[in-house]
C-alpha cells in the first residue's frame, strides 16, 4: 500500500496512536520518577524493614518481564477481585518497572557525592530527611540526567505493551498490528510507526543532553 493511501485511510488513527503513546509514556514516567525517589529514600533510610522492602521491590521489578507483569495485572488480578481498566493495567506495568530502574540510577547518582558533603551538612545540624532533600537528592538528580533520559526512552518502548490489550485509541505498536490484520498495510505501516518512535526518542535524547549540559556538576 502506498504511503498516501495509507495516510488517507489511517492518518487520524496514527495521530491518535502517537498521542496515546506519548500520554502513556509521560504519565508512567512521571509516576515512575516519584515512586523511584520514594524507593531510593527508603533504600538509604536507617529503618531496616524499609530498606529490605525497597531492595525486594527493586529485585522483583528489575527482573520481571513486562509481558509477564502485564498478564498478571490484566488476567490474574481479577481473580483477587481487583479489576482495573486495560489502560490502568498498562500504566501500572509501565510505572512499576521503570521505577525500579529509576531508583538504581538515583542511587548511582547519590554515590557520586563526596562523603565530606554529608559530614558538612550534618555539622550544620541538618536532619536525615533534610540532608536527603537539600543536599543529596538535588545532586543525585543533576548527575543522573543522562541515565534518566534513556530511562524515558525505554519507558516509551515499554508502552508498546499496550498493544497486547484492547485499547481505544490504540498505541503506535497496536495500530500496526490493527492495520495489518484489517488491510494489507505492509512495510509502510510498520515504518511509519517506527519512524514516529525513533523521532520521539531522538527528541527526548536531544532535550536530555541539553538539560545535562545545563545542570551537570563538573567535578
Amino acid at each position: 500500500m502506498s504511503i498516501q493511501a495509507l495516510l488517507t485511510q489511517f492518518g487520524d488513527k496514527y495521530v491518535q496512536a502517537l498521542f496515546t503513546t506519548w500520554k502513556l509514556t509521560a504519565t508512567s514516567f512521571a509516576l515512575a520518577f516519584v515512586l523511584g525517589i520514594v524507593i531510593t529514600v527508603m533504600r538509604v533510610s536507617p529503618v531496616r524493614p524499609l530498606r529490605l522492602l525497597a531492595e525486594f521491590y527493586i529485585q522483583i521489578f528489575r527482573n520481571i518481564p513486562g509481558a509477564s507483569l502485564l498478564i498478571l495485572l490484566v488476567y490474574a488480578l481479577p481473580y483477587l477481585d481487583m479489576i482495573f481498566s486495560y489502560y490502568t493495567c498498562v500504566l501500572m506495568a509501565c510505572t512499576l518497572i521503570p521505577a525500579a530502574f529509576c531508583s538504581e540510577y538515583l542511587l548511582a547518582g547519590m554515590n557520586t557525592i563526596a562523603p565530606g558533603q554529608i559530614e558538612a551538612a550534618r555539622s550544620l545540624g541538618l536532619t536525615f530527611l533534610q540532608i536527603i532533600w537539600r543536599v543529596v537528592l538535588p545532586q543525585a538528580l543533576r548527575s543522573s540526567v543522562l541515565p534518566l533520559t534513556s530511562l524515558l526512552v525505554s519507558t516509551m518502548l515499554t508502552t508498546a505493551l499496550a498493544s497486547q490489550v484492547p485499547l481505544n485509541p490504540q498505541d503506535l505498536t497496536g495500530l500496526v498490528s490493527y492495520i495489518n490484520t484489517h488491510a494489507v498495510g505492509g512495510v509502510t505501516a510498520f515504518f511509519i510507526s517506527a519512524a514516529l518512535y525513533c523521532a520521539t526518542a531522538v527528541v527526548i535524547g536531544q532535550i536530555g543532553s541539553w538539560i545535562d549540559r545545563k545542570v551537570r556538576i563538573l567535578r
Partner: protein, 290 residues
C-alpha cells in the same frame, strides 16, 4: 551499580546514632514492621477470601509432569534467548566496527541503524516479522520469528556497549601496536578488541537479561517458550493466577541470577586489575534495561 570512588553513600549518610535517634529509629522500625505485616496480611486475606489459596489451584505444581512441561518451555525460552544473544552480538559487533570506521558514509549508516534499533520497541519488530514479513513472501519458523526481532532490538545496544569498551582502551595501546608494525585492522583485532571485550563483559551479561525478557513475547508468534507453555497449562487446568505467578517467579530468578553473574564479572575485573579500566562511559547500555 554501586561502585564509585567514594564508596557506598549509605555508609556516610548517618553516623553512630545517639540515644534519642536510636529511639526514633526503633519506633520507625516498629511502625514500618506493623504496616508491612498489615499489608502482607491483607494480601494473604485477599487470596484466601477469593479462594485462590485452594489446593486445587496449586496441586498441579506437585506433579512432576507440570514441571517437565514448564521445563520444556523454559528450554525454548533459553534457546531463543541464546540464539538472539549470539545474533545480537554478531550484528552489534559489525555495527560497532562500522561506526568507528574510516569511511564517513559507513559511520553515518551504522549510527543511523544503531539509533533505529534502539528507538523502536521489540514488539514492533516482532509484529514486523509476524505480520509484515509473510506479506513480502518471507516464511520463517516461529523460532526465528521471535529470535530475530529480539536480536535486532538488542544489537544496537550491544554495538554501543562494545564501542564504549573500545573507547576505554588507552590510546597508547594502539600506538604501540602501530609502532611494532601492525596494520590498523590487525591492531584492532589483536590488541584493542580483546581488551575492550573484557571491559564490557558485565554490560553484555546485563544485556542478556533484556534478551530473556523480550523472548516472553514469543506467545505472539506461537513459539513454545515458558510463557506459551504456561498458557497451555492454564487452558488445561484452570489455574491461571497460580501458574502465571509461578512463571513470573521463574523469570525473576533467571534474570536475578544473570544480574548477579554480571556483578560478579564486574567485581572480578576490578579485583584482578584487568581494569585499571579507565572510567567507562556510562549510560551506553544503561536505561535500556526496562
Amino acid at each position: 551499580m554501586i561502585d564509585n570512588k567514594n564508596g557506598d553513600i549509605r555508609q556516610f549518610l548517618f553516623e553512630e546514632p545517639g540515644e534519642r535517634t536510636k529511639r526514633t529509629i526503633r519506633i520507625a522500625t516498629a511502625v514500618s514492621l506493623v504496616l508491612l505485616a498489615a499489608v502482607l496480611g491483607a494480601v494473604i486475606w485477599q487470596f484466601y477470601r477469593t479462594g485462590q489459596l485452594d489446593a486445587k489451584y496449586w496441586r498441579i505444581f506437585i506433579r512432576w509432569t507440570t514441571w517437565r512441561f514448564l521445563a520444556r518451555g523454559l528450554a525454548g525460552t533459553l534457546e531463543a534467548a541464546a540464539m538472539a544473544g549470539v545474533m545480537a552480538f554478531a550484528a552489534g559487533f559489525c555495527l560497532m566496527y562500522g561506526r568507528i570506521s574510516r569511511f564517513r558514509w559507513l559511520r553515518a549508516l551504522c549510527t543511523a541503524l544503531i539509533e533505529f534499533t534502539r528507538g523502536v520497541p521489540t514488539l514492533l519488530f516482532i509484529y514486523f516479522f509476524f505480520l509484515v514479513a509473510p506479506q513480502l513472501g518471507i516464511k520463517l519458523a516461529a523460532f526465528w520469528k521471535i529470535s530475530i526481532p529480539v536480536a535486532i532490538s538488542a544489537c544496537g545496544v550491544v554495538a554501543e556497549v562494545l564501542r564504549s569498551g573500545v573507547n576505554a582502551v588507552p590510546r597508547g595501546q594502539r600506538e604501540a601496536a602501530m609502532a611494532i608494525g601492525m596494520r590498523d585492522s590487525h591492531a584492532f583485532f589483536k590488541v584493542i578488541f580483546p581488551q575492550a571485550f573484557r571491559y564490557v563483559v558485565p554490560a553484555l551479561i546485563s544485556e542478556l537479561v533484556i534478551v530473556v525478557k523480550d523472548t516472553t513475547f514469543a506467545y505472539v508468534v506461537n513459539f513454545p517458550d515458558l510463557m506459551q507453555n504456561a498458557r497451555v497449562l492454564i487452558s488445561n487446568y484452570d489455574a491461571l493466577l497460580s501458574t502465571y505467578l509461578v512463571v513470573a517467579v521463574i523469570y525473576i530468578l533467571i534474570n536475578y541470577l544473570l544480574n548477579k553473574a554480571s556483578d560478579a564479572a564486574a567485581r572480578r575485573m576490578r579485583n584482578t586489575g584487568t581494569a585499571a579500566a579507565p572510567e567507562m562511559q556510562t549510560g551506553a547500555g544503561e536505561g535500556a534495561g526496562v
